[in-house]
Symmetry: C2
Subunit: 337 residues, 2 copies
DNA sequence: AGTGACGATGTGACCGTGCGCATGCGAGGA
DNA sequence: TCCTCGCATGCGCACGGTCACATCGTCACT
């Protein structure tokens, strides 16, 4: 019969010590794998620990070591497939290394909001931060803040001083564009992401580079908001002008909306227009027509982020990863003209 | 010029006290909004706080109060749209109430894994846990563990003793089925979720109830794994038997795969077969044909979970929410025969 | 005027760890 | 044999808050 006042007090390191007949300090040494412990003593302590079902108090440990074994995730991308898979991978990788993960969603990306978020995380004493906030301005704010804390951003940054990593967006976008060109398309539009987003810029650059290298005309990109709904309306609009034969969309959601918009306007994909997306979300292989797109390995990005961040935290040599390759997934939505 | 040894020591409550000319306890009272503080004293303290840029050390506070102001999220559903939107909402709602959020992904759902996860979270001193682990067995394990900690599960549970909440899956599924019936369909299949999942069972029950109430024949449901790929293969298989005119799939991903499978087999949706999904994921409105589906308000579910959990933690009256309504979104994929 | 209640503040202990330093003990070299 | 050294362990304090209790002054009430 255990009621609320039963909150006895969990066993502490001293309770363990008493039961094992050693000092609390010895118990602490066992817990931290100190080398100078007789095996016999160690097993006595371990027995006592399991008898009492002792669990170290992480708050006390954090207080005295001023390290929390918690990683913060600062995210400004809600519910999207890519970031979500990366976050899951980050959590798993962090747990494997004995770190917990505290996630914080950024409502808006004003400098104040970012500042507050970082301060909040530092109040929580996180040992490092992974930033999934792909907006250019977030990146700048962070740089400007001179955060007194190890952090990694998951985006391809222009400068290489801030630690950041991601798949090679430019190359992926260029490959998609080149594929369209190799299929004989010469008038290729780009449905871009929001101006502020690093990835949007990278993918646009890949598109522009691809066309320029082939000496083909570029069109001013259409600025979208990543959403399928926007893609749909863009498709309706674009169907009025018929000065293109292919569209490269900056993500799959917009590409799928685009397919819908074209369909509703009587434009047949891929017969009349070819479409390529970016990300390879799970439904991309099943929409009609199935979507040719650029695949990237989100989980691996997350894992690498953790490895880099932990190296920074531990003061080890920060591993140098090459840029992650993207992979063009050929499906039905892009064909030769 | 600040080097590593500069780790001076962040200002503590006593530094603030010294600067403000009061005792450390008075500072503590200001921080905790104690009523008996002269406004004048309070402002002196606040000034000192902002001068020193003082931030309370949460670890120290957690140590002495044995409450961490952290909520744990135990998730066994990776990367799916629904849970992901709920998690984001949980995080936001928790932050608004001054709680941080620590997420833990469950690799597998063996009792040991669940036990370890809960123990890990309790080591981290979380004040409560939100469980997004829709498998029946997780639910049982948790009940069996007699977790000494407030927790909420996001699933519709059969028994009402465990605190849990979600949209009314049974009603939603029944509405979908009834809609097909009202369109004149009499031979309706169900593409179900994995056997172990609470939601899969609820949706199947709604399907069965709907048919029974209309005195229509039920078919043994096809067990899927929630994935679009599975839906695709199911579509290919089903196209061989033509003893049905409609399919109700337990989630949108499988429904979208199904559309693809039917399409590849020469079966036209909705002309030959009507299809209804569940969840209303963002692409559902844009696939071809656009998908009739059951919408549920995932963010609201997350917010309610936080409210209930916090009430439990604070020992307040736990608010009694009615079950959340689902909403049938009529689109192109289901028509009268 | 005396007294009790209450408001505003201070004092010291305590929460559960890890760290620095001291201590005891046995082995090995002079 | 004595001294030194390294291993194994213990002692006390510090980390930065909160809590229980003490103190002191003011004001209302008898």
């Amino acid at each position: 019969m255990s009621n609320a006042s039963d909150r006895a007090r969990l066993p502490s390191i001293r309770d363990v010590a008493r039961l094992a007949g050693v000092s609390h300090q010895t118990v602490s040494r066992v817990l931290n794998d100190h080398p100078s412990i007789r095996p016999e003593t160690k097993s006595k302590v371990l027995d006592a620990i399991s008898v009492l079902d002792y669990r170290p108090n992480l708050a006390a440990r954090a207080l005295v070591t001023s390290r929390s074994n918690v990683l913060g995730i600062l995210s400004a991308t809600i519910g999207e497939f890519g970031p979500t898979s990366s976050i899951a991978a980050i959590e798993d990788a962090a747990r494997e290394e004995g770190y917990s993960v505290s996630t914080l969603n950024l409502g808006d990306t004003t400098p104040e909001a970012i500042g507050n978020a970082v301060r909040q995380l530092s109040r929580e004493q996180v040992d490092g931060i992974v930033v999934l906030a792909p907006q250019v301005r977030v990146f700048h704010v962070l740089r400007g803040m001179s955060v007194e804390m190890p952090f990694v951003t998951l985006q391809t940054a222009s400068g290489s001083d801030g630690v950041s990593l991601a798949a090679d967006q430019v190359a992926g976008a260029k490959a998609a564009t080149a594929h369209l060109i190799s299929l004989g398309h010469t008038d290729i539009l780009h449905l871009a992401g929001p101006q502020d987003w690093i990835e949007a810029e990278s993918r646009m650059r890949g598109y522009l580079d691809g066309l320029r290298e082939a000496d083909l005309p570029t069109f001013p990109p259409i600025r979208g908001d990543w959403s399928a709904d926007f893609g749909y309306f863009a498709g309706k609009e674009l169907s009025r002008r018929r000065d293109f034969t292919a569209v490269f969309a900056a993500n799959d959601l917009m590409a799928i909306g685009l397919l819908h918009g074209f369909r509703d306007s009587g434009l047949r994909v891929p017969h009349d227009v070819s479409v390529i997306g970016f990300d390879d979300i799970p439904v991309a292989a099943h929409v009609a027509p199935t979507l040719t797109t650029v695949h990237q390995d989100f989980p691996e990005i997350g894992r690498r982020a953790v490895r880099i961040l932990l190296a920074q935290i531990r003061g080890e040599q920060v591993p140098e990863f090459g840029q992650l390759q993207t992979l063009l997934r050929l499906r039905e939505s892009a064909v030769s003209r």
